[in-house]
């Protein structure tokens, strides 16, 4: 039993965190809102140079050959800065799916993803819309019991604006030329595991978002003064933030466990992912609510950075399975007559 990350994993997290905090500033995110695509090739190339886009790409294709467990701490850091680029999607959703499909498709695209040359985006029916379809060089789209591969000229996109200006959402209509890459049983298995990785990516990101909202609130309430004191010295304000800290603290281990279960292909993975997604999003939603409150009217403005992170947290809570979906999955397991629960059952 060793529920710790390795030195290497922690060091990688640290260096990626430093990079992201320096590069992906709130100003840069706001600037990206003013561009057509909302995405920056320069930033994507930097991420590729760090090896990040190829983290889960096998070494033979120029990647680092790592697992989603190696990436989960980095996904938290992506959340912390509100990274608009589809890095979590690439590493946790698209690349593992391409790996699983394999064959010529994998051979053709995986090296390009690792080098940063191409982006691959996945659209599952469980999600209403497809994130970042406009910057995809290859789309892997579910339609019923089939998975299709399509290049940009083989799809038609309809843009949907989100409350989070960083999120670019599309309906994707397949035109002629898209090819079936998996069907039947095989597609169902791929879709299920892809979905779980997407939900895991959300959980990890909202942990980072929640931490960012706490940090912004602590900073703001330490500076802002009323009644002759920093408002952060008032107990009501402190307790708002302490409540978030408690929920967040206990959402981390479930998320790390889910990453482990997914990476190891454990039977419990779907259940563990639902657990993680529920508690992480609950913590982030509480962080959003209490952070707005302690910011006063400032929290209700476009100008203050809080909303960059808050809106992303709101959005992620209802994508890759909303609370209802994940609670149903948990319920099916724990309320079944043969459920093994209680002390000593967590790791079996």
């Amino acid at each position: 039993m060793d529920f710790t990350f390795s030195e290497d994993q922690l060091l990688f997290q640290e260096s990626v965190r430093d990079f992201l905090i320096n590069e992906v500033t709130a100003e840069r995110i706001r600037a990206s809102w003013e561009t057509d695509s909302g995405r920056e090739d320069a930033l994507w190339n930097q991420l590729a140079e760090l090896g990040l886009t190829g983290m889960t790409v096998p070494e033979v294709y120029g990647g680092l050959g790592m697992t989603v467990l190696d990436f989960v701490l980095l996904a938290q850091e992506c959340g912390y800065v509100g990274l608009p680029e589809p890095l979590v999607h690439t590493v946790m959703v698209a690349v593992p799916l391409l790996n699983d499909i394999g064959g010529e498709l994998g051979e053709q695209w995986l090296p390009k993803v690792a080098s940063g040359e191409a982006k691959v985006i996945v659209g599952l029916e469980q999600n209403l819309l497809v994130e970042d379809a406009h910057v995809a060089d290859l789309l892997l789209i579910q339609q019923g019991h089939k998975l299709y591969a399509a290049t940009p000229d083989q799809v038609s996109l309809r843009y949907n604006e989100s409350v989070d200006p960083s999120r670019k959402l599309f309906t994707v209509e397949l035109l002629t030329g898209a090819t079936v890459v998996a069907s039947g049983e095989q597609a169902a298995t791929l879709i299920a595991s892809t979905f779980n990785r997407g939900a895991l990516g959300c959980a990890a990101q909202v942990l980072g978002l929640a931490q960012r909202m706490i940090d912004l609130s602590v900073q703001y309430t330490s500076e802002r003064r009323q009644f002759g004191k920093p408002i952060g010295s008032f107990q009501a304000v402190k307790h708002h933030m302490a409540n978030v800290a408690v929920r967040l603290e206990y959402a981390k281990a479930p998320t790390h466990r889910a990453a482990y279960a997914v990476a190891m292909g454990q039977e419990v993975a779907a259940h563990a992912v639902s657990h993680a997604k529920l508690v992480a999003c609950e913590a982030a939603n509480l962080a959003a609510k209490n952070s707005v409150q302690v910011h006063g009217a400032m929290g209700y403005t476009w100008e203050v950075d809080l909303h960059i992170f808050m809106k992303k947290a709101w959005a992620l809570a209802n994508t890759w399975g909303d609370a209802g979906f994940h609670k149903r999955r948990i319920g099916e397991r724990i309320f079944s007559t043969d459920a093994v629960l209680g002390a000593g059952a967590t790791f079996v």
């Binding site: 710790t4 309430t221 002390a343």
Partner: protein, 387 residues
Amino acid sequence: MDLAFTEQQQAFREEVRSWLAGNVPPEPLQSFDTEEGFIQHRAWEATLNKGRWGMVTWPQVLGGRGCDLIEWLIFEEEYYKIRAPLRVNQNGIFLLGPTLMEYGTEEQKARILPKMANGEEVWAQAWSEPNAGSDMAAIRTTATLEGDKYIINGQKTWSTRAVWADWCFGMFRTDPESERHRGLTFILVPLNSPGITVRPIPQLDGLPGFAEIFFDNVEVGVENRLGDEGAGWSVAMATAGFERGLMLRSPARFQETARRLVELYSANRMSADCDPAVKDAVLGAYLDAESYCLATYQTACRLNKGGKIGAESSTNKIFWSELDQNMHATAMSILGARAELLPHAPDAHGVGAWLDGWLFSQSGPIYAGTNEVQRNIIAERMLGMPR
């Protein structure tokens, strides 16, 4: 990361399980807040100690097994699963014991720990006073050094198990000029000393689970001082909160309550589902109990590898105490009209121990530092908010 138990850990689990299966009394003991129940629980401590299962984390020479935190968690899982008796000497073995190991003299350890381990001497904790609750630094009970004796005068209160316990440990003001955290000394006091009056206080269930202790010129030899004179506060605070918290409230306890809650819900589904909030609460309770377990394992593994415990450990107390309250509140709503009935009431079939647990869960957010005080600590020390 490797989330599988080693063969050694599995073998340890088997050993715990089979010993407990052969030794746990088949019928639940009476409450240790009754005289007879107290005696039964004392005897159980002796049985545990004979099997060297009394305090598995203690060193071998003290009758323990030198177990690490993971083995401790495994032990607790098996212990709660088989519903073994609660630990009547918890204030001794979990709180004072580790402190003694760190600060006690060899003489003190040799004199005190073996009798603590076998239940011969049961310990009560005496911090609180009528005017020193959350504000523990307001302690006023004095201990005056005269020759090789302290003379103690004053009053302690809310002292758990003090009604039938043999000793208490507490903090006393040894420097009458001192204020707040300074001038306090950690002293161990035999409860049968002349000048001590213990007045039982009935708790919500009517049983005297705690007591007031009055000190009227009580003489205690200096050999019963733990640590230096005036160092009481740091002795009391030093043994890290987390490991104590982990000892006192390991996840297994709450996971078993969560399991029983799921069972209770499933057995009463037709009526329980009339209130749609109930199912959600059951599910949330199960998840929180699992989260508590996962987070505890994660921290324990980090500590095993030499990591340090940080300020985030202060989140622990709030999490388990609120979870416990929520779980019992949910059980009460599932039981509906039967919830108020005492287990022996003729029409109380199937209420089990929920009412007792519900009553006790009310105290979780209060004892061991109220949850409001914990929130202050989290905000100031973990988040760094201004004082």
